[in-house]
């Protein structure tokens, strides 16, 4: 984890598969709407909240009434890196996976996110068990790997748990380094691809939009991503506390090494000024200096250079101190006591810790920096708890929307059943009462309609509003059973 938690993740291929299981569904809807224009119009409340849903649902509703959100995946906690490497999806594979998903009757919508730390398949499924099974089957086919080889590492979440999981992933509460910012971008990129392919469905569209806003809330309302959690970033953060802005500060790199070079790269990104590189072997120094477009100096010149350099990063293999208190003390006058910040990444240490006692000189060794990081990680974890609270709220609010989505088809089906019965009975009655005029027939129809409206008024309100606060889906279930709405 040492250096850049962020940098390393960039490598990951990012992928999304979105399959719309029934691409024709949307096309079919208007026809349904036309067949029952009255139904659609008579549900004003529905229309206000989810205008499109109201019209779209009936067709689907008649065939398959429940849709579940299912999430299946594995991450760095459940699967070892070797397996994650095998199972990661590339961009091309995603296109293929998308097609395979489209053919599957169990899955209606799906999104696939693949990074080097996780693969998540998010689905809106007609049949959750089959959806999970077929998702596994697809992974197995795509990756040429037996299902039982990776099955143990999978987690499967349904309903609220799935929603919560995707919220946590996007908010980076589930990441290896809590609070790392990349995952949200990866998710967004994934979703953008889905939009371009025009395959998003009602449910996952809504879910992902909610996910992005939740992640944004978590990031802005908690300090989850505020503090550095890598050595080089921690050094930069400290530098900012000393210098304010790093722009134009001169840097001296003594020795070489991955962590030190990474720190210099971060500094360059912060637009520091001139960079000096000192190395025991001058040629190596020249090489490094070229890499940073800096200036190579000889090891003996370090003392002189201390008069100019504001940030000194040291990482040599030397058993003794490379920079001594005496050297620094001598240079302070020449630099008019401008502050100087020493970052000692070497073990054994290169920079005499006594330098820290000189005024305007600050020394941090590798242990100090690690101490800073530990504090920062604790801090992030504390902030993550706040994030969980935000997510709890969001899950509840999504659930409320999701339930209202199911209320609509139920009410529509109930209404339709009543209308059908009334229509049949009116026809029967009017056939046997031939003496009634056309106007009388209309009056009877109007009366019947009014009765239906009044009879359904309260149950409709009950289902739609919060009359059944705790478990709306249970009431919906009962309603469907009572009126036998699922028989078609």
């Amino acid at each position: 984890m040492g250096n850049s938690p962020v940098g390393k993740m960039v490598c990951c291929p990012l992928s999304v598969v979105r399959c719309n299981k029934q691409p024709t569904t949307d096309d079919r809807q208007p026809a349904t709407g036309n067949r029952q224009p009255a139904t659609g119009n008579r549900q004003p409340a529905t229309g206000n909240r989810q205008p499109t849903t109201g019209n779209r649902q009936p067709a689907t509703g008649n065939r398959q009434l429940t849709t579940d959100i299912v999430l299946l995946g594995f991450n760095h906690k459940t699967a070892p890196v070797e397996l994650r490497e095998c199972l990661a999806f590339s961009q091309d594979e995603i296109a293929a996976a998308l097609e395979a998903f489209q053919k599957d009757p169990a899955v209606r919508e799906s999104v696939l996110i693949s990074t080097c730390n996780r693969v998540e398949i998010l689905m809106a499924a007609n049949d959750r068990l089959n959806a999970a099974t077929s998702a596994k089957k697809h992974i197995s086919e795509f990756k040429n790997i037996q299902v039982d080889q990776f099955e143990d590492t999978l987690y499967i979440h349904e309903g609220d748990a799935a929603v919560r999981h995707i919220f946590r992933v996007a908010s980076s509460l589930d990441s290896m380094v809590v609070g790392e910012p990349q995952i949200l971008g990866q998710l967004k990129e994934a979703y953008r691809t889905a939009i371009l392919k025009k395959t998003s469905g009602v449910i996952l569209n809504r879910l992902l939009h909610k996910t992005f806003s939740v992640a944004k809330r978590v990031r802005t309302e908690t300090g989850i991503g505020d503090r550095a959690v890598s050595v080089s970033f921690a050094a930069i953060e400290l530098g900012r506390k000393i210098f304010g802005v790093l722009e134009g500060k001169k840097v001296l790199l003594v020795g070489a090494g991955e962590m030190a070079e990474l720190a210099v790269e971060h500094l360059i990104r912060n637009r520091v000024g001139e960079i000096f590189v000192a190395n025991r072997t001058f040629e190596r120094g020249v090489e490094l200096a070229r890499k940073f477009s800096g200036k190579a100096i000889r090891f003996e010149e370090i003392t002189d250079c201390l008069q100019q350099a504001d940030i000194v990063i040291s990482s040599t293999g030397s058993p003794n101190f490379v920079i001594t208190r005496k050297q620094v003390k001598g240079s302070m006058r020449g630099r008019k006591n401008r502050p100087v910040f020493f970052i000692d990444i070497a073990v054994p240490r290169d920079i005499d810790p006594d330098i820290n006692r000189l005024s305007n000189a600050y020394v941090y060794d590798i242990d100090d920096l690690k101490g800073v990081i530990e504090e920062n990680i604790d801090d992030r974890n504390r902030e993550a708890l706040k994030g969980e609270r935000i997510i709890d709220e969001a899950v509840i609010s999504f659930r409320r929307w999701y339930d209202s989505l199911n209320v609509v088809p139920t009410i529509v089906a109930l209404r339709k059943k009543m209308d059908d019965i009334a229509e049949a009975e009116i026809r029967k009655t009017l056939n046997s009462l031939n003496h009634l005029s056309e106007d009388d027939g209309q009056a009877i129809r109007r009366m019947t309609e009014a009765m239906i409206n009044k009879i359904l008024h309260d149950p409709t309100l009950f289902l739609k509003n919060n009359g059944c606060l705790k478990d709306r889906s249970a009431y919906l279930d009962i309603t469907r059973k009572l009126f036998k709405l699922d028989e078609f």
């Binding site: 630099r335 006591n337 502050p339 820290n356 101490g371």
Partner: protein, 273 residues
């Protein structure tokens, strides 16, 4: 007048509350509201001051009540200017309470109207008083910034990154702010002393009369001069400068109040109570 003073103090108190809440909660709107509340308080304060000036025809600096009233005004004003320029966020938690406390003390003191003496009624006296007060307010801020610097420097040196480390700005910003405060304070103090000498020549016929106030003003001036000289010539920055600005302010406080309260001299009546 009375109402204006109460409103002013209320605004300053609210501003203090805002800044202290900002210190703990770190919400930007608290910082902003602290600033605007202080500005509103300053506005009322100015109104009260102008009212007093118009009514009595001279600057209200003839009793301790009036002097502190004026001091609170300059502290708030100078802070507003510096904050606008540097935006040292935590500084409000020092300056706003300072202004509030000064005002509270001032409002508790007896305030019989001073008998106007013609001797004080001159442009030079008013100028002398105003620039000295502005200079003192700038030095008060410099002291506050210096204290913040020392806290921040301590936490960086000792690697204890607690409450203040996160909230305080960078050492460089604190140092630069403190330096600007000292420079402006010193300029004002110098101007104030010069006008004081000129006025002494006019009123008493000599520039310097070994009055305790004069002596202590001289000492304070020398201290700050030494600080600035050290900075220019020897590069006294950071910690040393911060400590010096605190010492300088202590000397200044004594010159401002101590001399009048404990020693005798021709400035004595300004702090009568």
């Amino acid at each position: 007048m009375e109402v204006l003073i109460i409103i002013t103090i209320l605004f300053y108190m609210l501003s203090t509350a805002g800044y202290i809440a900002y210190l703990f909660l770190q919400k930007d709107y608290l910082n902003r509201s602290g600033y605007y509340l202080l500005a509103a308080g300053f506005f009322c304060h100015s109104a009260a001051l102008i009212y007093g000036f118009v009514r009595s025809g001279h600057l209200p600096v003839y009793t301790l009540h009036e002097t502190l009233f004026m001091a609170g005004w300059t502290i708030a004003g100078v802070f507003l200017v510096f904050q606008y320029k540097f935006n040292v966020k935590v500084l409000g938690a020092y300056a706003a309470p300072l202004a509030t406390i000064v005002m509270l003390i001032s409002s508790q003191l007896p305030r019989e109207p001073a008998q106007a003496k013609n001797i004080f009624n001159s442009f030079w006296v008013s100028f002398h008083v105003i620039v000295i007060f502005i200079g003192e307010a700038a030095f008060a801020l410099a002291c506050g910034v210096g204290l913040l610097y020392l806290i921040q420097e301590y936490s960086i040196k000792n690697k204890s990154h607690g409450f203040f480390f996160r909230r305080l700005p960078s050492l460089e910003l604190l140092d630069a702010t403190g330096y600007t405060c000292i420079i402006s304070g010193f300029t004002m103090l110098t101007l104030g002393l010069i006008t004081g000498f000129l006025y002494a020549k006019l009123a008493w016929g000599r520039f310097w009369s070994w009055d305790p106030k004069e002596v202590w003003s001289g000492i304070t001036w020398l201290l700050y001069a030494a600080l600035l000289h050290g900075r220019f010539a020897l590069g006294w920055r950071g910690r040393k400068a911060a400590i010096m600005s605190a010492i300088g302010f202590a000397a200044l406080l004594f010159t401002f109040l101590g001399v009048n309260l404990f020693l005798k001299g021709h400035h004595g009546e300004f702090t009568r109570w």
